[in-house]
């Protein structure tokens, strides 16, 4: 479990970015963190694996604390991180070497690294690209390499900081597909930072952040049903959600919060 307890954080003293954040994330849970730019989403994500340390409060992962410098490295082995810019997180000169980079840092035996790299390549469907240099990959492929790297670390949690914001829509589905698979098959806990609400819909729980404070949390259906909150956050509801909430406002309460097109159609058909 990830436990974020009373975390305050400021880059410079006068303007706190996170103010008393309390949040628990179970293993195998998929949590989406949404909020406008500057709300502290990315900062919060970086607290979890100790890339940034809290000014007060504490963050624990499986009982290990980020404030203990030895435990911090154990946390980083458990919590993988995929960044926004696909270009600046690949270290090695080929796909397979980049996937091996994390396991090498953990000091694993070469045989075990081979096993993990093969496994990660298979799951993310990157076998064909294994010898390619990063600059010849598309953005979506680069993000999948980053995800494969997390997999090879045998991480229990995967934090993703707007991983699709620099990608084309069709590449976005590619990346989301890979995340879905990890979540379903490996019981990986996922913390997904985004301001695209369609993506947040895939989560078990949505946490809305504004000015460094958690302003709402719950299932996507429940959080997105509050249209005034969503527009106050400056975010845009997915089209299906907008239709269902308009219909709900017009008197069809049962439709409130539905975000899935098939589900909406089904409920609509039953209405008549």
């Amino acid at each position: 479990m990830i436990e974020i307890k009373g975390v305050y954080f400021a880059y410079d003293e006068d303007t706190p970015v996170l103010k008393n954040i309390n949040l628990n994330i179970e293993r195998g849970e998929w949590v989406a963190i949404i909020g406008p730019n500057g709300s502290g989403k990315s900062t919060l994500a970086r607290q979890i694996n100790g890339l940034l340390l809290p000014d007060s409060g504490n963050v624990c992962v499986e009982g290990l604390s980020v404030l203990n410098s030895e435990q911090l490295w154990q946390i980083r082995a458990k919590v993988a991180f995929v960044f926004q810019n696909p270009d600046n997180q690949l270290v090695a000169t080929s796909v397979e070497d980049d996937i091996a980079f994390g396991p090498e840092n953990l000091g694993l035996e070469p045989e075990l690294i081979t096993e993990r790299v093969e496994n990660a390549l298979n799951i993310t469907g990157l076998q064909q690209l294994r010898n390619k240099p990063p600059h010849l990959l598309s953005g979506g492929e680069k993000q999948r390499v980053a995800i494969a790297g997390a997999l090879a670390m045998a991480a229990e949690y995967l934090i993703m900081d707007e991983p699709t914001s620099m990608l084309d829509p069709h590449l976005r589905t590619q990346v989301l597909g890979a995340v879905r698979q990890l979540h379903a098959n490996y019981n990986m806990g996922i913390v997904y930072v985004t301001n695209i609400l369609e993506e947040a819909f895939l989560a078990d729980r949505v946490v809305a952040l504004a000015n460094g404070v958690i302003v709402a949390q719950g299932t996507p259906e429940r959080v997105f049903a509050d249209t005034t909150l969503i527009s106050r956050l400056g975010l845009e509801l997915p089209p299906v959600c907008r239709i269902s909430s308009l219909l709900a406002d017009a008197g069809y309460e049962r439709l409130r919060g539905i975000g899935d097109l098939d589900q909406l159609v089904e409920v609509l058909c039953k209405l008549s």
Binding site: A80, F83, T114
Partner: protein
Amino acid sequence: MFKEKLLIGQYYPIESPIHRLDARAKILASLIYMITLFVVNNWWGYALMAAVFLLNTAISRLPMAAVWRGLKIILYFSILTMIFNFFFYSEGEIIWQYKALILTDQGILHGIAMGLRLLLLVAFASLLTLTTTPIQLTDGLESLLNPLSVIKFPAHDIAMMTSIALRFIPTILEEFDRIILAQRARGATISQGSFLKRVKAMVPLMVPLFVAAFRRAEELAQAMEAKCYRGGKGRSRWKKPQWHQRDSGYLILFALLVVASVLLRGI
């Protein structure tokens, strides 16, 4: 644009006995070859060195075009060296003279020898990079420099820096091309005007390039830290370089080359 121009001498992926050799053997052989070039002092010696280079190229199965592409630039330097040596070597019989410029028979021979030396030096070094992947090269370098870590020489860090530099060269060149296009779109003239004007035109290109490179560096450092990178400490290698008998054999051949070149000095 810039990308194609600068990618010469880069790894040429084919199968060959030279490609299969351990990077360390190839690095050491190249070193030996370069040193031997300075031992050689007559035409027999140069002929031997040229033969060794050609034989290596043949065994590496590289198309001559790929090797040649990398040599074009160095050929200019080589010719320049030759010309300088023609006119600044005063021993021997004077063939032609114009004021302070003297051309002697020995000067011509000396110039040709110097030009050839430079050409062979770079040519053999380019064989190394053409037949060895960057990662093998840096791994080999790290492994060769590792004994020096006793005197606190940062072998691992240097190897890691080199491999990151190699990884980002194409990425940053791509970015450079993008910046050029962006500045052109704003009406900048980059490849026109006097030399000074063109140098000045580089400023609006270099500044964004450096800013972006620093931002990249910081993000990369975070990504590496997130993947538990803490320097060479506690780190294992996935693809350890493997030394085979053929590598020892290759080096023995180069040791023989040194002996042969010393013997040829006497002729």
